[in-house]
Point group: C2
Chain length 208, copies 2
């Protein structure tokens, strides 16, 4: 990938992406640099630096073109390359993740869903077939998979992570409220709903 | 609340909480300071500073008592005060949030769930009654509520946020992938599943 973009600018890419995608959904073709800077939460001069690192997407005075800029940000985020996923855990959270419409649009293809309940085997969730979790290892051995999503109870998460790692995934997206031990070459992205709840409690408490 | 604890230490409270809670669930009574520091990701000397700010929870050589320390961290996080919640949106994500067992344990009580589908009215999700979203404003006027949780599609989120603010909530926990405009006195905690997905994509892409 392009190594000339600074880490700070890279860190802002998800914010650019989310805002530009929202603009595109609302049918907006062009955005002024002042408004864009304000929504990203940076100064106009930082914005100009970011955009010149991305390439050329309009004239400062006339504003920027939403479509091409979104396309470029997507490229930089690696969203235009497909990633094969398996999802483990078909409870409410797993179903919510599987049903998330942004997945496929962003190149994340859920190939199969695994669950401890054998009754779910043979059903489909959001278009993906469900299989018994006992088949996870054999599946990964046969089907190269980039990312494993863990949406199981905390108690099961480490064992699933071990199976995913042994099966050769490059990354784990973990929703279980537990820290996972994995080798250094495997990326782990945590989404801990409980952490947000704790932060919210802390912030409310600090207001008192 | 206790203002003598530094912001850095405060920021570590959710990490302490998560780890200590895990230890307690596993039946561990005592933890050595070295192990605790390692899991929190700080040095032993930072740990001693944190713990002396919390109070006294054991002797450095003998390790720390998990139970009393967890209780103190919970207090500092404001988890021992009950908060009344409403949840808006009873789709997969809303159900996952409502079913999250950590809620009640942490003093967050879901009093009612609202959904746009009138067919769900009168049913119960995770013990909480479901009502039509058209009744949200009237409910808030009658029942003082601390926190509104938004688990609706992005398109509905701002209108729901406006209703919650007009109804006097102090905080909004937003799962919809959209930025909300709210007055300064209302806290907003965002949990954007899509941001984690974007970061994961970016990190995978940077490995390539």
């Amino acid at each position: 990938m392009d190594k000339t973009i600074s880490p700070r600018t890279m860190g802002r890419l998800p914010i650019y992406y989310r805002y530009l995608e929202e603009l595109q959904r609302m049918g907006v073709d062009r955005i002024s640099s002042d408004k864009l800077a304000e929504r990203i939460g940076i100064t106009s001069s930082q914005l100009r630096q970011d955009l010149s690192a991305f390439g050329q997407f309009g004239h400062h005075g006339l504003g920027y073109h939403v479509g091409p800029l979104l396309e470029r940000v997507s490229d930089l985020l690696g969203l235009n390359q497909p990633h094969r996923l398996v999802l483990v855990g078909a409870g409410n959270l797993g179903r919510a993740v599987a049903s998330y419409e942004g997945f496929t649009r962003r190149g994340f293809l859920i190939k199969r869903i695994f669950d401890a309940d054998p009754q779910l085997a043979g059903t489909y969730i959001a278009g993906a077939p469900v299989a018994p979790v006992t088949e996870l290892g054999a599946y990964l051995a046969a089907e190269p998979t980039d990312v494993g999503v863990i949406a199981t109870p905390a108690t099961a998460a480490q064992e699933i992570a071990d199976t995913l790692v042994a099966g050769g995934v490059r990354a784990i997206w973990n929703f279980a409220p537990v820290r996972l031990a994995v080798p250094d070459h495997v990326l782990v992205e945590h989404t801990h709903i409980s952490d947000s709840l704790l932060l919210l409690s802390l912030r409310l408490h600090m207001q008192d």
